[in-house]
């Protein structure tokens, strides 16, 4: 059974220095509040795993939380580059960042293998690309047809963190809309934190509704707007101006540092953070 708890306590209890942590959400339901809390608690040497290390990982990498990044596409979605990610890779600031790079299909296959209790997954992929020289894949031969395919190792992060729309009072979790790899991330991980928009008495059927039973979740934390500036289908819209503003904030090390100090270290939780950036409805630039 999941504990209904404060996000601060959940991160303190479940995320340790050196852990492999997967914060998932495919441009939708990105768990920003949890990422901020990890920055606030100054976790270090994390392996950050995620298909799309967008603004959330840019913040965590720039803040020095990450030693390693396992990913398939690192950009500011719809805007451009992730400047902190680039600065870490290109210039080693604030520290060198080891990369383990895959394709989306490869990462998805790895999570599926991890969620299925298998040590590897099989796909048609990578063949002929330079990715193969830089990442862990192996050729695997179909024992029935003799065809050569690609094997990728399972992902089993220490902690998976996702944001969802609802939990019920027993700690079951429901998310809907674009569901990305969240179910697989949760089921592949050793420990699971879920932030939710709200607790409801009963779940309603929803398009692409995904329910995660309480007994595979360690902590459920109520954090309204906890995926801001991404969105929670049915609750909020993407704050596109923030993504655009981030391009300017993250371009400059000093400006970035000030932003992190003021808005993350200078606040105690996500509600205060949201107030500190001026609430949800202000122009960002």
């Amino acid at each position: 059974m999941a504990d209904l708890t404060d996000l601060r306590d959940a991160v303190a209890a479940l995320v340790s220095d050196g852990d492999e942590v997967a914060l998932e959400g495919f441009t939708h339901l990105v768990p920003f509040a949890a990422g901020h809390e990890i920055i606030r608690q100054q976790r270090r040497d994390l392996t950050l795993t995620r298909l799309t290390p967008d603004v959330i990982y840019d913040q965590m990498i720039g803040a020095g939380c990450a030693r390693r990044l396992v990913f398939s596409w690192g950009g500011n979605p719809g805007v451009g580059s992730l400047h902190r990610f680039r600065d870490a890779v290109e210039n080693g600031w604030p520290n060198r960042l080891q990369l383990e790079e895959h394709s989306h299909a490869g990462m998805a296959t790895r999570y599926v293998a991890g969620a299925s209790g298998l040590p590897f997954g099989t796909l048609r992929g990578y063949v002929g690309t330079d990715l193969m020289q830089h990442t862990r894949t192996e050729q695997i031969t179909c024992p029935f047809t003799g065809e050569d395919l690609t094997a990728v190792p399972a992902l089993n992060p220490d902690v998976a963190i996702v944001h969802a729309q609802n939990a019920d009072r027993r700690g079951n979790v429901m998310l809907w809309g674009i569901s990305g790899v969240q179910k697989e991330a949760v089921l592949s991980a050793k420990k699971v934190i879920v932030t939710v928009e709200e607790v409801v008495d009963e779940f309603m059927p929803r398009p692409n509704g995904v329910i995660i039973p309480t007994w595979v979740v360690d902590a459920v934390c109520i954090v309204p707007n906890g995926s801001h500036p991404s969105y929670a289908h049915g609750y909020s819209e993407r704050d596109n101006a923030f993504y655009e503003a981030w391009d300017l904030i993250a371009r400059d090390r000093e400006r970035f540092r000030c932003w992190i100090d003021r808005h993350i270290h200078g606040t105690t939780d996500f509600a205060e953070y949201l107030r500190s950036i001026g609430g949800l409805d202000v122009p960002r630039v």
């Binding site: 890779v89 796909l123 063949v127």
Partner: protein, 258 residues
């Protein structure tokens, strides 16, 4: 990016519209954000109302009324016939060979349509760290055919890629078969200057079409290798009024997005 020329449309608009024209009615198209998404929606709103747009976020049959801001825009979920998980979209839909057309962009492209979106410079110490492969490597492998849309410049059209992210026609004829790739690979590269297609024999990209007002010399100067040119080249039909209005109306929707 390019100003509206005296012909009344920009070269980016021509590129997007030329890409839109490549989609046929009822085709299933795997779309990335940016120009591919815009082009696919122009096609849907003009000559191909039943084109099926699949986004890697798992939305199948999306019919957005405004341009999505990201690959996982809520507008895609709300207008889709079905939403599935990311593992499913890659395994059951792309890998299984259900995608007719894949749209790719490129930071670098070589004469055989191989694409780099990973790094400029050395992988370990890159000059520019690009986003990486994302969905592209398997789109390039599995889609029945691939359309590349990319602005033409010597920095982008290079003899030798710094990194091969998505496979075109490596080594020319037989290259894809040798790798066991099931899709036919890039059949067309649409730029802001014209259109390139693989030579039927060598599979090297050949300039076959020039957009209005563009010369062969301009195209050659924007290509980092000795560009082969078809003779005669075709001139691209300029945007029709309907195409241009549809495109501009779509672009305008970005302003009223959340």
């Amino acid at each position: 990016m390019c100003p509206v020329s005296d012909v009344g449309y920009t070269s980016d608009e021509m590129m997007t519209i030329a890409a839109a024209r490549e989609l046929r009615e009822d085709e299933v198209c795997f779309v990335g954000i940016g120009i591919p998404s815009t082009a696919a929606n122009v096609a849907r709103l003009t000559h191909a109302p039943n084109v099926v747009l699949v986004y890697e976020s798992g939305t199948i049959g999306a019919k957005p009324t405004r341009l999505p801001l990201s690959i996982g825009d809520g507008e895609l979920a709300e207008t889709a016939d079905a939403i599935v998980s990311v593992p499913e979209i890659f395994a059951y839909w792309l890998q299984a060979g259900r995608i007719d057309v894949g749209f790719l962009g490129a930071a670098q492209i070589d004469p055989f349509g191989n694409v780099n979106t990973t790094v400029v410079g050395d992988y370990e110490r890159p000059t520019v760290r690009l986003p990486g492969g994302g969905g592209a490597p398997e789109i390039a492998a599995a889609a029945r055919r691939v359309i590349v849309v990319v602005r033409q410049s010597p920095r982008t059209f290079v003899e030798q890629l710094d990194f091969l992210t998505s496979v075109g026609h490596p080594g020319g004829p037989g290259g894809r078969d040798a790798l066991g790739l099931r899709g036919a690979g890039p059949q067309i590269v649409i730029t802001d200057l014209g259109i390139l297609r693989p030579d039927p024999d060598s599979l090297e990209l050949v300039l076959t079409d020039l957009h209005e007002g563009v010369t062969v010399e301009t195209a050659r100067a924007a290509t980092g290798w000795e560009l082969r040119v078809a003779s005669p080249t075709t001139f691209t039909l300029p945007p029709t009024v309907e195409e241009l209005q549809t495109l501009r109306a779509l672009e305008a929707t970005k302003k009223w997005a959340p």
